[in-house]
Symmetry: C2
Subunit: 459 residues, 2 copies
């Protein structure tokens, strides 16, 4: 938890943006796995954590934009709780740590909301069933109606604040990188013939846990990198396989890392692998170089797309005018996702608030073109944004077969040649970047990504 | 997944128990961590898995007890799903694997339930918010009303079936034990001075993951074993500490293990630790010896309580007539939980269906006495039950202080002496046991629990 004034300052900044009504912030409850008492590891709601810093379940808070009053609702523990869960500080004590003066038992929230029901109630869209049920009880808005009744004013204000990472947050993200580095380098060294994917994935997640962290999202570790979010870890690695690993950690302070590396089983890229890898790496490095305040991230995405399309052309996989191919979206058969996303307390930062408010604005609306439509961050970059840069090239048999049968972009795609790559898999390379006043800074100790550095580490 | 006839047989057995209406089984949905797309590892609902064997999200099934019809509702994947999640078999193909002939798109479930709304609908109490919201849409029963409107007839029928483990289940549980053994022995060897609790907990969970398993519940690993469900792993181990580790794995088939071991940092018990440890071990071994069909598990719980009370008396911590002390519940200050619980696909098997239907029946109702009230399984044992045996002794400062100030059982408890143990912590020893025709069988390769064996392994 940061110092108290950090949280007070954030709430004061929020109060400056909204004048009417009150904001209701629901902290998360425990999340049941297979029965009520068997729960997944507790994850607090990021916005609740941002404004109040308290990492315990079953709390809520309100900010009254008219009176300025702030109240935290939560229950103190009893002797049964102490026997099972250990002693805990009182809610009033916790509230003081984030500079909130007033606390009340959780049940009084129902009364409180009842008394205020004729005022504007600003709430954020819930993403958990239990929160949706609680929100219905508190506001009368049914779960299916909550997203469209969420306060756009509050969403925009929260996004404005959380997008600009404070010094303490930048430091927290940088501090998280050490474990992310250790996790990935542990994985790279393990990728030998005969090893199961799950052995590496398990060791990597174990590294996160051993350092008091968790994974910031389910580990993607696969020899079938062409499936973008592949969580199946049951394959045994063989010579010639490429392993794609997209993984990050979440620190005890709930700040994330997110890196992808792709490496050859046994430690030597084949020349075909090296060709595609070098194209992705060139695109990633050029994309990073372009990062600075004022540039639209979609333009960087399109530049990376062009670099990769041109690379594919040199290999005979694409043909014709690559600028035109990228404009029409032909490259997306090989690169069907976005270049990156905001990162912070959430690995896709604030995605619960709706990507279109986080990654787009009035000046940059979302593309509807296949591929670029998946880009989560398109708008102009500002100093203190933290984002990922993660181009990739994939040979997805089902997609290639669909496009081929529909005769998509025959002027740009050489389907005869792609037929030779159906067993290739996929390559992605990802780093986390801070937008600085003059340009960018890549977070953390570098995880090897040059061909020679990877091969050296695997020796 | 087991062979098809296993699932057909189970559903046929269920159909023999209920004659009217239809049963609605909701499979689980993905569970959001901090935004909708960032999910915890998927855990299927155990009862859905028991009757249908399908381990994928967003499915439901109905069994019509009058027509005998069985239908699985679920959606096939589209090209976008394939790009992100990989190719998947069709729902009809999956349904055939569990012997169900009829499948329909998920959305048709709403229509189906609408058409059947005047018939008796049997459903089980949901434990996840999303399931509760879905159930309200399907049945009109509000989340707060669902538990009391759940079908007691269906609950009892499911409990009857799932309590008696089939041969394939007993084999699946036995097969899971190897990884549970490896996880615990890995932990025991790591418990040295200067190591953080999280390092051991992380390595242990890493072992589960590396073998394609997950932990069956959040790892309890602590030098403060007096807190029964202690998930804080931030302490550094020092000489003289006892480490209590309660952990288990869940196999890819979703069968559990659950063991507790307690061991001294550095590998040598102090004489005071050995005294208490030996009492718990004696109680655990005698309890296991008593297991056989026909005996009430509460009687075994009370015997273990008596063994421990008598041991505490020899150390001067208790005094007077120990039979009377146990009858009155004085021992529960040191042993405030139950001796064990049913285990199977859930580590507390079927706890979502209500412990009172799982662990109690018309002949054995739950005690209201502090301590014994926490006993999850009290009723008569039957062949094919699988259960845990886990006595423990704890010195819980808050509880001792409360009882002392309330002058609880001064005739049985020597509060002066307990004052010397306030920093002792807690000890628990747990194994998993099958009730056989003639007695019992302890599952798995033994994880060391004798003092000498533990000290030897730690050398």
């Amino acid at each position: 938890m940061f110092e108290k004034h950090i949280y007070s300052n954030r709430r004061n900044a929020l109060k400056k943006q909204i004048n009417k009504g009150l904001a209701l912030f629901l902290g998360n409850q425990e999340s049941a796995m297979n029965y009520p008492a068997n729960t997944y590891h507790f994850r607090q709601d990021s916005t609740f954590l941002y404004f109040f810093g308290l990492n315990d379940p079953d709390m809520a808070a309100v900010i009254d934009f008219e009176s300025g009053e702030e109240i935290i609702f939560g229950n103190d523990v009893d002797i049964d709780d102490i026997i099972w869960m250990g002693p805990q500080p009182a809610v009033a004590h916790k509230a003081a740590l984030c500079g909130v003066e007033h606390t009340r038992p959780f049940n009084e929230l129902f009364d409180y909301m009842g008394k205020n029901k004729n005022r504007p109630i600003h709430f954020l869209p819930p993403y958990r069933g239990k929160s949706a049920i609680l929100l219905e009880k508190l506001t009368g808005v049914k779960p299916d109606e909550q997203k469209k009744n969420a306060s756009v004013e509050l969403i925009k204000a929260v996004v404005t604040l959380r997008s600009l990472k404070e010094d303490v947050e930048i430091e927290a993200i940088e501090n998280a990188m050490e474990v992310g580095w250790l996790m990935h380098t542990t994985g790279i060294k393990m990728a030998r013939e005969g090893v199961y994917e799950r052995e590496i994935a398990g060791a990597m997640e174990g590294v996160a846990l051993a350092h008091g962290c968790v994974v910031s999202f389910p580990v993607i570790l696969t020899k079938n990198g062409q499936t973008l979010h592949n969580h199946y870890h049951g394959n045994r690695l063989a010579k010639g396989d490429l392993v794609l690993v997209d993984a990050g950690i979440e620190s005890p302070e709930c700040y994330c890392t997110d890196h992808t590396r792709t490496y050859p089983v046994g430690g030597a890229f084949s020349s075909r692998q090296k060709d595609i890898y070098s194209i992705v790496l060139k695109a990633q490095k050029e994309a990073i170089e372009m990062i600075k305040p004022g540039i639209r991230y979609r333009n960087i995405h399109l530049h990376a797309s062009l670099v990769m399309a041109e690379g594919l052309k040199t290999l005979g996989l694409m043909k014709g005018d690559m600028k035109e191919a990228v404009a029409q979206g032909a490259h997306a058969m090989f690169f069907p996702h976005g270049l990156g996303h905001m990162m912070g307390m959430d690995v896709h930062d604030m995605e619960d608030l709706d990507e279109n408010y986080v990654g787009y604005d009035a000046n940059t609306t979302r593309s509807s073109q296949f591929g670029t439509a998946y880009l989560r961050l398109g708008k102009e970059l500002h100093e203190r944004y933290v984002l990922t840069v993660e181009p990739g090239l994939y040979f997805i048999p089902a997609l290639i077969s669909k496009w081929k049968s529909e005769n998509m972009f025959p002027q740009f795609i050489n389907y005869e040649k792609t037929g030779e790559y159906l067993n290739f898999g996929g390559i992605r390379i990802e780093d986390d970047v801070l937008v600085t006043a003059s340009g960018y800074k890549v977070f953390g100790k570098p995880i090897p990504k040059e061909v020679d550095d990877i091969e050296k580490l695997m020796r």
